[in-house]
């Protein structure tokens, strides 16, 4: 069994919000006890809606936010609340592709500068080598050499996203966090970018954490899937298990929420739609966070927080009724 590239151990990230004068200081439990592994070359799909903590989780994995509790092991680095990571070593291990191609590139830098600067920063001094790596990376993402001296505003959204991908990969990281990489792109070009990401993953032996609310994309690219709700993982397992046999009511609600013109998922998720709004992460419901919206809610759910336990090998769900046959 390959050694995990990324290992999260009861990770919690909390923020203090508010002030003494305006309603008191509250604790925001953005990430509330996450234990997770990603193996080299694996793609983990991370699914969740607003307030689930996926953005904070991504920041913590990259070492930009320190954990309040728990530990992160990534590529030989260890991060914990009192042990901040080595910034430069982290940069060569974990990188990120951003959602908004229009805001994620420095408008005053050419493509060449955006790609070459990190190489200089990390000690690649030889001019010829830098140039070669820049052109090579551009070719890998489908850009031509003459694009190197252009500015971001001269490119389309899809091309900008390619530049962003090139920037993320220029230091040859081992893990790339893709945060909704295609949601801000036109529908007709999303396929181009998804295909590109998958090709690069195979070619460069990368591991991905694919954050997306689009379950179709998640099913297509992931090896394993984790579903988050209000700071906790509520279900995780292999992609096929999760989508064909979802065992947590929230996962079922997500699948049921997808417009289904081909009437495919109807059987598995009939009657599974969630009610009401997502609660605030500042004031989550007691017990199981999902209980106010859950079609299967029972009294037990408001009292006892269900643990993430196995339904079958490799498939875990945090629900008191995880074994109930629907």
């Amino acid at each position: 069994m390959a050694e995990a590239l990324l290992s999260l151990d009861d990770l919690a990230v909390q923020f203090k919000v508010g002030s003494m004068l305006a309603g008191g200081i509250k604790t925001l439990k953005a990430v509330d006890g996450v234990t997770l592994d990603v193996k080299p070359g694996e793609c983990l799909g991370l699914v969740g809606e607003s307030g689930c903590g996926k953005s904070t989780l991504a920041l913590a994995i990259m070492g930009l936010v320190l954990p309040t509790r728990g530990r992160i092991h990534v590529g030989g680095q260890q991060i914990s609340g009192d042990k901040p990571p080595d910034r430069m070593a982290m940069a060569r291990t974990v990188q990120m592709v951003f959602q908004d191609p229009y805001a994620s590139l420095n408008p005053r830098q050419t493509v060449r500068r955006t790609l070459a600067d990190p190489l200089h920063l990390h000690g690649v001094g030889d001019k010829a080598e830098v140039e070669a790596r820049v052109i090579d990376m551009m070719a890998k993402v489908g850009l031509r050499p003459e694009h190197a001296d252009r500015y971001p505003h001269e490119f389309s959204g899809g091309q900008r996203q390619r530049i962003g991908i090139a920037r993320a990969l220029i230091l040859k990281p081992k893990l790339v966090i893709c945060d909704e990489p295609v949601s801000a792109l036109d529908v007709s070009i999303r396929a181009q970018i998804i295909n590109l990401l998958l090709e690069l993953k195979d070619e460069m032996g990368l591991a991905y954490i694919m954050i997306s609310h689009d379950l179709g994309v998640v099913e297509h690219v992931s090896d394993r899937v984790a579903v988050m709700y209000l700071g906790r993982i509520v279900e995780q397992g292999g992609w096929q298990e999760i989508f064909e046999n979802p065992r947590h009511p929230y996962t079922r609600a997500l699948i049921a929420a997808i417009p289904d013109p081909f009437h495919r998922a109807a059987a598995t998720v009939a009657g599974a739609k969630a009610k009401g709004e997502i609660a605030s992460a500042l004031n989550p419901p007691p017990g199981c966070h999902f209980n106010p919206r859950c079609p299967m809610k029972a009294d037990l759910c408001t009292v006892e927080t269900p643990l993430l336990e196995a339904v079958s090998p490799g498939h875990l769900a945090a629900c008191h009724f995880r074994d109930r046959v629907i």
Partner: protein
């Protein structure tokens, strides 16, 4: 890039003032300090003296021309100092936040509460009059607006994706501030600097008028106005021309600043592709 009327007119006026200052030794008719002949005192404008003469019989035109050198030097140099101080403080405060931000904010609030002219006066009183003291006094007291603007820009830009990307790539805070943030805030900073220059020129004029800036007999538009106080009824041209020079230069800078603001205003082009 279409430049509005403001930019052309303003830029033109300022360019003229600059040109006058640079070519002063060649376009002046007399030595502004030495050529004083009491027999020519308070003569109205004529062919020999295009702007007339002052109470000491000096050619006002030449004094206005040389005065441009002083006023513009003070204006430009002080403003550059102001911008450097203000941007450095504001950029670091906005990016880092925390106690440094609180400190800079407090300092800025204090600076904004003290009328800058009074502050400059106080410094001049300590340092004594003269060009260098003037530069120091004005350079140290007018950085608040640059600071505010730089801080606001830093706050809004630091959450942009490319700044976060730089952090993830291992860029340190100074590298980020000076290579990622600063180039993207130049627009508003240049606008504030241009408008600020008008302010420092006026401040210099005021200080010299009060006798605390450039002392006579050296020509500065402000000190010329001061000298002309007594004769304003009988020889209005002694105050009109330096006053007009100040007015046109500062007007030019204000128009230029407005025009630049229109250019640098971010145009939202959120097209998706």
């Amino acid at each position: 890039m279409r430049l509005g009327a403001n930019t052309w007119i303003g830029g033109g006026l300022f360019a003229v003032a600059l040109a006058v200052a640079v070519t002063a030794p060649w376009i002046a008719l007399t030595d502004p300090v030495m050529d004083a002949n009491l027999l020519n005192a308070e003569l109205p404008p004529s062919r020999e003296f295009p702007f007339g003469t002052d109470a000491q019989g000096r050619d006002i035109y030449s004094r206005v021309v040389y005065g441009a050198q002083i006023s513009l030097t003070v204006g430009v140099v002080s403003q550059i100092a102001n911008s450097i101080i203000g941007v450095t403080l504001g950029l670091t405060a906005g990016y880092w936040g925390g106690w440094w931000d609180d400190f800079v904010n407090g300092l800025t609030n204090v600076m904004l509460a003290i009328p800058s002219l009074i502050f400059a006066l106080a410094i001049m009183a300590i340092l004594g009059p003269g060009l260098v003291s003037l530069l120091i006094a004005l350079g140290l007291t007018n950085w608040s607006y640059s600071c505010r603007i730089a801080r606001a820009q830093a706050l809004s830009l630091k959450s942009q994706g490319y700044v976060q990307a730089a952090r993830i790539l291992g860029y340190g805070p100074f590298r980020i501030m000076f290579t990622q943030l600063l180039p993207n805030m130049l627009g508003p900073i240049i606008v504030i600097a241009t408008l600020g220059m008008g302010g420092t020129i006026l401040a210099e004029a005021a200080l010299s008028f009060l006798g605390l800036g450039i002392r006579p007999p050296f020509p500065s538009w402000g000190s010329m106005l001061s000298d002309a106080r007594e004769t304003i009824a009988v020889a209005p041209w002694v105050s009109i021309f330096p006053g007009l020079a100040i007015f046109l230069t500062v007007l030019g800078l204000n128009l230029l600043g407005d025009g630049l603001r229109d250019i640098f205003d971010p145009q939202a082009t959120t097209r998706r592709a």
